[in-house]
C-alpha cells in the first residue's frame, strides 16, 4: 500500500495521487534499498574462501617439496634447512602479504583493521600459531568454512584476514 507524500491519502495504485494528483512513483523509486547481505565482503575486500586458501597451501607445499627433498639429503644441517623453508614462505606472507601459491590464486593476508601486510616477524608468529589450528584435530583449519570473516584460529590470534586480490604469475619471491 502506498501513501501520497503530499496529502497522505492511502491506497494509491497509480503513479499519481487520486486525491491531489501529486506524483507518487519518483518518491517510491528513491526509497533506499538495503544492500544484499554478502558474507564474503568487507571494507578491506572480499574474504577468500576455504577452497582457494587450501589450494594455495597445496601449491606452496608442492613448490617446497623439491627443496625439502634436496635439504634432507644433506644430513642434520639439511633437516634444519628443511624446517626453515616454510618459515621463508611465512616471512613472505607477513612481509608482502602472499606466498607463491597465494599470488597465483590471487589471495593476500592482511591485518583485519589496517588492510596492510602484518610484517615478516608477525608472519612467522602467524605460521607458528597454526599449531593451535592443528592441535584440536585440525578443526582450526576448517574455521573459514563457517566463520564470518573466513579466519582460521591462527588468523584470529594475530588479527589477520585473507582477501581476494588480482592474480599474479608464479614467482618464488614477491614481485
Amino acid at each position: 500500500m502506498a501513501f501520497c507524500p503530499q496529502c497522505g491519502t492511502a491506497d494509491q495504485d497509480s503513479a499519481f495521487c487520486s486525491n491531489c494528483g501529486t506524483s507518487i512513483a519518483p518518491q517510491a523509486a528513491s526509497i533506499p534499498v538495503a544492500p544484499e547481505y554478502d558474507a564474503n565482503q568487507s571494507a578491506i575486500g572480499q574474504y577468500a574462501d576455504w577452497g582457494t586458501r587450501f589450494g594455495a597451501y597445496l601449491i606452496d607445499s608442492l613448490t617446497l617439496l623439491p627443496f625439502s627433498f634436496l635439504a634432507t639429503r644433506l644430513g642434520a644441517i639439511g633437516s634444519f634447512v628443511s624446517f626453515l623453508l616454510p618459515l621463508w614462505y611465512a616471512t613472505q606472507v607477513g612481509g608482502a602479504g602472499s606466498s607463491p601459491g597465494m599470488r597465483v590464486l590471487g589471495i593476500k593476508c592482511v591485518n583485519q583493521t589496517t588492510g596492510q601486510p602484518i610484517g615478516s616477524g608477525m608472519g612467522i608468529v602467524r605460521y607458528l600459531a597454526h599449531f593451535v589450528d592443528g592441535i584440536i584435530c585440525g578443526i582450526g583449519f576448517l574455521f573459514p568454512l563457517w566463520d564470518k570473516k573466513r579466519q582460521t584460529l591462527a588468523d584470529k590470534l594475530v588479527s589477520t584476514v585473507v582477501i581476494v586480490v588480482p592474480k599474479k604469475r608464479f614467482s618464488l619471491i614477491p614481485n
Binding site: A39, C137, W146, K148
Partner: protein, 121 residues
Amino acid sequence: MRGRFGASYQLDLRSARRPAFALLVGGLCLGTIGSGLGLPCPSLVIVGIPCPACGLTTAVRNVMSGNEWAGIRAAPIVVVIVAVALYALIARRLTMAIPYVVIALIVGAEWIYELFRFSIL
C-alpha cells in the same frame, strides 16, 4: 560485537550450512557403515593428552545412528554441535552470536570430561 556476556563469536549461519550438512550426513554414513574410521588426534598421539575434540567422530557417528547415550558418553559436547548444525540448516537468520565466555565454558567442561575419560585427571 559485545552483548550481555561480553564479546561474541559471529557464526555465519549461511556458510555453516554446508559443513553442518556434511557433519550430519557424514555421521549418518559412518554410523551406517559402522567403521571405526576417525582421524588420530595429534595431541593424543604426540603428547598423550586428549584435546577437547577427542571422541567427537565417535560421538557424532553414534548420535546419528541412534545410539545417543553412547555418543554423549564419548563426547557430551556432541549435543551442542549437533544442535547448532541442525539450527544452521533450518534457521532463516544469517548470523548467530555466541559469547566467547559460553564457548570457553563449554569447551573447557568438555576438555575436563575427556581428561577424566582418558584417566589423565
